[in-house]
């Protein structure tokens, strides 16, 4: 017990460092995937068939294969197969490759949620905007976007909660995120080795962060309750 209390501050400090990297990946993914998903959804809904087919193909592949494989391919392929290690070395290179993989993967999931949201706004809203002389982009941004956002908050919350936990997959390319930081104490880190509990302890970080995310998204949902 005494040993545990001695180890605890050291472990927590190391896990905090890992958690910062986890949070960075989480926010970068959201920041990239939320707008990219919208572009992809426009692509799949495009009346220009080649574009629609191409984006649907991409969405199919990305959603149809494990994120872990995508991470490995994106991280290793350029260097190993083409001899062009585009990501650069070290932690920043790993972070960059992980960010690209996560953004692409989540953008594809988001795009399908957006598509559902956009298509669920009644056609009468478009028509009302058109007869009032609005442009297509005015109709989208001034009329349909908020109605769509209101409809997609619940399914988006689901994805965002999954993302909190999915960040741990970046461990596979040795990104020094939360799991990596916890696992390090098994083989030895900060003078502690053979300790398995720090890795289990990481679960609390995910749980608490997801608690905060759930509350925030719940507030957003409530905030949009002013209209139907």
């Amino acid at each position: 017990m005494e040993l545990f209390l001695d180890q605890l501050p050291i472990v927590i400090q190391a896990l905090n460092v890992g958690f910062v990297q986890t949070l960075k990946l989480f926010f970068v993914t959201l920041l990239g995937a939320i707008p990219l998903g919208l572009l992809i959804s426009f692509g799949t809904m495009s009346r220009f068939k080649p574009l629609s087919w191409l984006t649907k193909l991409i969405v199919w592949i990305i959603r149809g294969t494990p994120l872990m494989i995508q991470l490995l391919i994106i991280y290793f392929f350029p260097g190993l197969v083409f001899g062009v290690p585009i990501w650069g070395g070290g932690e920043s290179g790993r972070f960059l490759a992980a960010s690209v993989s996560f953004i692409l993967n989540y953008a594809c999931y988001f795009s399908e949620i957006y598509r559902g949201g956009i298509q669920s706004v009644p056609i009468g809203q478009d028509e009302a905007g058109l007869v009032l002389g609005m442009t297509k982009s005015q109709i989208f941004f001034k009329i349909k976007l908020l109605q769509m956002v209101k409809r997609i908050v619940p399914p988006m919350s689901n994805e965002i909660i999954t993302l909190v936990k999915d960040t741990s997959l970046a461990r596979i390319v040795a990104l020094q995120e939360l799991i990596w930081a916890g696992q390090a104490f098994m083989k030895g880190s900060h003078g502690i080795s053979g300790a398995i509990w720090p890795m289990f302890f990481t679960a609390f970080y995910y749980l608490i962060w997801n608690g905060i995310v759930t509350v925030l998204l719940g507030r957003l949902e409530k905030k949009l309750d002013y209209f139907q």
Binding site: Q125, E127, L130, V131, L132, G133, K142, I143, Y226
Partner: protein, 261 residues
């Protein structure tokens, strides 16, 4: 000269001919009612006037200007159509109010967006906004909605929603205001309040095209009535001619259902 001239409008969806050679004209300040059974093409005709559907053939002229000519590709340009739509207003059967905006904002939105295209918008931003708001408030007042301006559509009754929608269409001061069965989604109690404001508009000489199933109203308010059947104008004339001296057997058959019921 007529404010609106519609000549030989044809429209098909796939193999179904929905409009067959429709021609009529409308004078400034007059009201035309279009009656007929469901599927006779009334709504499609209104949608063609508002460029929500593109006719396959025919010409639409407003104030002598050719807005649409199926034979002249230069009139079919998408961005030009946006401006041409402004000659017409359209009130929908299902209101189609914007749910995230208050009644007042619903009336103001389109006008504010159009104002942004004015060259002096930046310099006179506040002034323009005040003008638009004052005009919207006045319109809602005319619709009897002074105490409902800050309500959202879901807080309003169907009749109130439809009156907001009428104010919204009027805000852009269209030459011709079109109504697509404006009371069909309302229960009988609420129908009256909407018909009342439409009657007031007619008394103020608003030029209107009204598709309706309210026969008494069509007869009362319209200067001209058109009876459509199977995509054609079967009969048209003054309310007296159409309702009292009905020429066509098909029209008589249609009207009898309303007098008997």
């Amino acid at each position: 000269m007529s404010i609106l001239q519609v000549e030989h409008i044809c429209k098909s969806f796939g193999n179904t001919e929905v409009l067959k050679d429709i021609s009529f004209s409308l004078e400034q300040g007059q009201v035309i009612s279009i009656i007929g059974s469901s599927g006779s093409g009334k709504t499609t005709l209104l949608r063609c006037l508002n460029f929500l559907e593109r006719p396959d053939g025919g010409v639409i002229r407003v104030k002598g200007e050719t807005l649409f000519d199926a034979k002249d590709p230069s009139t079919l340009n998408e961005s030009a159509i946006r401006k041409k739509r402004l000659h017409f207003g359209l009130v929908f059967q299902s209101f189609n109010l914007f749910p995230q905006y208050t009644a007042l904002e619903n009336v103001m939105l389109a006008k504010e967006l159009l104002a942004k295209e004015q060259p002096d918008y930046k310099a006179r931003k506040n002034e323009i906004h005040q003008e638009i708001q004052a005009q919207a408030e006045l319109l809602l007042k005319q619709m009897g909605l002074s105490d409902r301006m800050t309500n959202y559509p879901h807080q309003l009754s169907g009749g109130q929603c439809q009156r907001v929608a009428i104010a919204r269409a009027l805000a852009l001061q269209p030459d011709i205001l079109c109504f697509d069965e404006p009371t069909s989604a309302l229960d009988p109690e609420l129908t009256g309040e909407v018909l009342k404001v439409m009657k007031e508009l007619a008394e103020q000489n608003t030029t209107m095209v009204i598709v309706t199933h309210e026969m008494a109203f069509a007869r009362d308010v319209a200067n001209q009535v058109i009876f459509m059947d199977d995509g054609r104008i079967l009969e048209q004339g003054t309310p007296e001619e159409l309702f009292e001296n009905t020429r066509e057997e098909r029209t008589r058959q249609f009207l009898s259902r309303f007098t008997e019921g």
